[in-house]
């Protein structure tokens, strides 16, 4: 298994962030975990990483419903960033809205990044499967 150097969690719900982090501890020993509470913060953070040449996250856990800039708006900006590596973006949401699935299909087809769609709550086995370098 390829070692993960950097992980990013984008979610405004501290409990979910806590949960993801806790489960990550079980499936990976990556300690470099960045947390953002909305899409805007995340895109700003990743943009500055890109500028400062700091290692970019290889796996991103992304919530959809967030204030200021939601998951989709984040994706819209993210896929425009000049990132050559394939980043795994795991969408984690409690939404079962068909529209969100359609959005996912749309973004999936527009980028070289690997985008997955996952419903909360995430089980440990699932976590193991999606916490991999793409």
């Amino acid at each position: 298994m390829k070692k993960i150097n950097s992980i990013c969690i984008i979610d405004d719900d501290p409990i979910t962030v806590f949960g993801i982090q806790k489960m990550l501890g079980l499936v990976t020993d990556c300690k470099n975990i960045n947390k953002f509470i909305n899409g805007k913060d995340a895109i700003d953070g990743i943009s500055s990483m890109l500028e400062n040449n700091t290692p970019l996250p290889q796996v991103i856990f992304l919530d959809i419903n967030m204030p200021i800039m939601d998951g989709w708006q984040f994706l819209e900006e993210f896929i425009k960033l000049p990132i050559t590596e394939t980043v795994r973006v795991n969408i984690v949401t409690s939404s079962i809205d068909e529209l969100d699935r359609k959005n996912w299909e749309l973004y999936k087809s527009q980028t070289h990044h690997l985008i997955t769609f996952n419903n909360k709550p995430i089980k440990k086995e699932e976590m193991q499967r999606i916490t991999k370098v793409a």
């Binding site: 409990i15 979910t16 949960g19 419903n65 204030p67 200021i68 409690s94 809205d97 709550p121």
Partner: protein, 630 residues
């Protein structure tokens, strides 16, 4: 007449006896009548010039010839008559028809009598002929006229009657008798004649008429009813006039005309007309007939009512330009011309007519051409159904569908919100419980339990919020009451005074002192609270917040504007989510993402709406439209 002739001939006869030889021929020759003397051999012995000329005989070729030769016929009847003469029996007059030179019929009346000599011996016969052609023609004509008159009065059922003042008796012609259904031999004193008139109006009327005729010389013509001898009642026209001779009343003369059929058919026609009129008038449709100039020539009650007149006379002869707005009337006229020219009816066309007073009615109109015997249109029949009501209902229904589909959308949206929010909480619960079960460390367990407690509180909050939204959406029947808006803002300001002071905010109330609007007061409280606290919450960190509340009118709305100098919102990015549930756009610890969602629901519950304009770092203006109508 013929008797006189015979006598005359007798005188000539005596003269002939006196001086037979000399004067015989000459006297007879001059007789003014066509007269011939024949011997027993039927040979002509003497003849008057008149006789010879009457039959166009040759003067030299008559005497000594048999009359049968002369007339070129062998008339057996005549021969018998003459033979009777020869034995002393004169014949009756008879008539023959002889063609003249021009081949016209000439009628002759013949008399044949015995010719005696001095010794009273029959020596032959005297034949006299009289041309009665003109008389015969007159007689024929008279006979014909009589027949015609008879038939005429029979067909027309016009009889004559008279009353003779001297005998005090009336007389009726056959037709009059027929009309009265009486037998030929009826005795007719005046009162009998009068009593045939129907008791009551008719009898009184005829009595008066006869009285006036006798006393004042006035003639009459009256439409009256008689009761016939068989008991039938008939309508007749009775006319009469008095006859005077030397200023003395002689009697009455008049006609009686059986018009029963006419009256009945007239009544029938009237009944039919009445039926048709009743039908047309009571149809729940506007019916009219227009001539080729689009002038109304018939209208029914419904059309009168629609036109706002009491009597059809106020419409008849007028056209649409007298009642409708010019453009509407022009359209109608064009349509009429189209129907008249093409002869094709317009059927069930939806038409909007606007009267001069501006009142608008929607009709379903049919226009059908009326054609004469040549197939040319001489007008149109118009039939219109007022479907304004239906139209309104249709519109209401459409509105209702719009409202329903809007509500449906809202409901689906709400269901999504509910499902999403509850799911996110339950997901957290499930996850945290999973951790708790597998956790060995006590401190970690404690921390997870704390989180569970938090999650539970959040869930409760969420449920409270959802409840609030449901309450607003379902409480659409809350009564609106008029409030003084300025006072309302002041009271909200009072309640928030500590908060405003703490944040160094200024609230400017520009609502007119007397401004009143109909609202649900509790909602207005909540709306103002929300906007004011939002403005303070999202203030520009470099400026003290200034919030201005003002009011204006737009269409049917009272528009309350709340303007601040805060952070502003990037409407391009967030405009479509601004009023969504759990949407926040600022990094702020108090952002719950519920306030504007609830505010919007409250405004909509009062049939209002909210618009927003904003510039980032300059400020935001929310316009709340309060519906003044309902």
């Amino acid at each position: 007449m013929s008797y006189n002739h015979i006598t005359l001939v007798g005188k000539y006869d005596k003269m002939l006896k006196k001086d037979l030889k000399l004067t015989n021929n000459y006297l007879i020759k001059q007789l003014p009548k066509a007269t011939a003397f024949i011997n027993k051999k039927y040979e002509v012995i003497h003849a008057s010039d008149q006789w010879i000329n009457s039959f166009y005989f040759d003067n030299n070729d008559v005497f000594g010839k048999s009359i049968f030769t002369l007339f070129n016929e062998n008339n057996k009847d005549w021969k018998i008559i003459l033979k009777n003469c020869f034995i002393g029996q004169p014949s009756e007059l008879f008539t023959t028809k002889i063609k003249d030179q021009n081949n016209n019929n000439q009628w002759f009346e013949w008399s044949n009598i015995p010719w005696y000599d001095d010794n009273e011996n029959v020596i032959g016969a005297i034949i006299q002929a009289e041309n009665i052609t003109s008389r015969t023609i007159d007689e024929l004509r008279l006979k014909k006229l009589e027949t015609i008159l008879q038939e005429k009065s029979e067909i027309a059922k016009i009889g004559t009657w008279g009353f003779d003042a001297t005998t005090q008796k009336g007389n009726w012609c056959n037709i009059t008798k027929e009309i009265h259904e009486v037998t030929d031999d009826i005795d007719l004193p005046l009162d009998t004649m009068i009593n045939f008139y129907k008791d009551g109006f008719s009898r009184n009327r005829i009595s008066m008429a006869i009285h006036n005729a006798m006393m004042k010389g006035v003639s009459w013509s009256e439409k009256l009813q008689i009761t016939t001898a068989n008991g039938a009642t008939k309508w007749v026209v009775s006319t009469g006039k008095p006859i005077y001779k030397n200023d003395e009343f002689q009697g009455l003369l008049g006609t009686i005309h059986d018009i029963d059929n006419q009256v009945h058919s007239k009544i029938k026609t009237k009944e039919n007309e009445h039926l048709l009129k009743t039908l047309i008038d009571n149809l729940p449709l506007n019916v009219y007939i227009k001539d080729t100039e689009s002038r109304k020539i018939l209208v029914n009650k419904a059309e009168c009512e629609y036109m706002g007149v009491n009597s059809p006379d106020e419409i008849l002869g007028k056209d649409d330009f007298d009642f409708f707005q010019k453009e509407v009337a022009q359209n109608f006229r064009r349509e009429d011309i189209g129907v008249i020219k093409s002869l094709k009816p317009v059927l069930g066309k939806e038409t909007i007519s606007i009267k001069k007073d501006g009142s608008t009615t929607t009709f379903l109109t049919s226009k059908i051409p009326l054609t004469d015997n040549n197939g040319d249109a001489y007008g149109i029949v118009g039939i219109s159904t007022d479907i304004t009501h239906l139209k309104q209902k249709e519109e209401e229904l459409r509105d209702l569908i719009n409202v329903t589909s809007l509500q449906n959308k809202k409901l689906i949206n709400f269901a999504h919100i509910v499902s999403h929010n509850l799911r996110s909480h339950t997901a957290n619960f499930s996850m945290l419980l999973d951790f708790l079960v597998n956790e060995k460390e006590e401190t970690e367990k404690e921390s997870i339990l704390n989180m569970l407690r938090n999650a539970s509180d959040n869930l409760l909050d969420t449920l409270d919020n959802l409840n609030e939204v449901v309450a607003i959406s379902s409480n659409t029947n809350l009564d609106k009451t008029p409030i003084n808006l300025n006072g309302k803002v002041e009271s909200v300001k009072q309640n928030l005074s500590a908060y405003i002071k703490k944040n160094n905010a200024t609230l400017i109330n520009e609502i007119p002192k007397n401004a009143e609007i109909k609202v649900i007061p509790a909602y207005v409280d909540s709306i103002f609270m929300n906007f004011i606290t939002n403005s303070v919450k999202y203030k520009n960190p470099d400026k003290d917040p200034v919030i201005k509340i003002s009011m204006s009118k737009k269409d049917n709305y009272s528009v309350v504007s709340i303007t601040d100098n805060g952070l502003g919102i990037d409407l391009k990015k967030y405009g479509n989510k601004l009023f969504g549930m759990y949407k926040t756009f600022h990094k702020h610890k108090d952002s719950r993402g519920i306030g504007l969602y609830i505010t919007k629901n409250q405004v909509e519950a009062m049939n209002g709406k909210i618009t927003v304009s904003s510039k980032v770092n300059k400020g935001t203006t929310f316009n709340i439209y309060f519906n003044e109508e309902d």
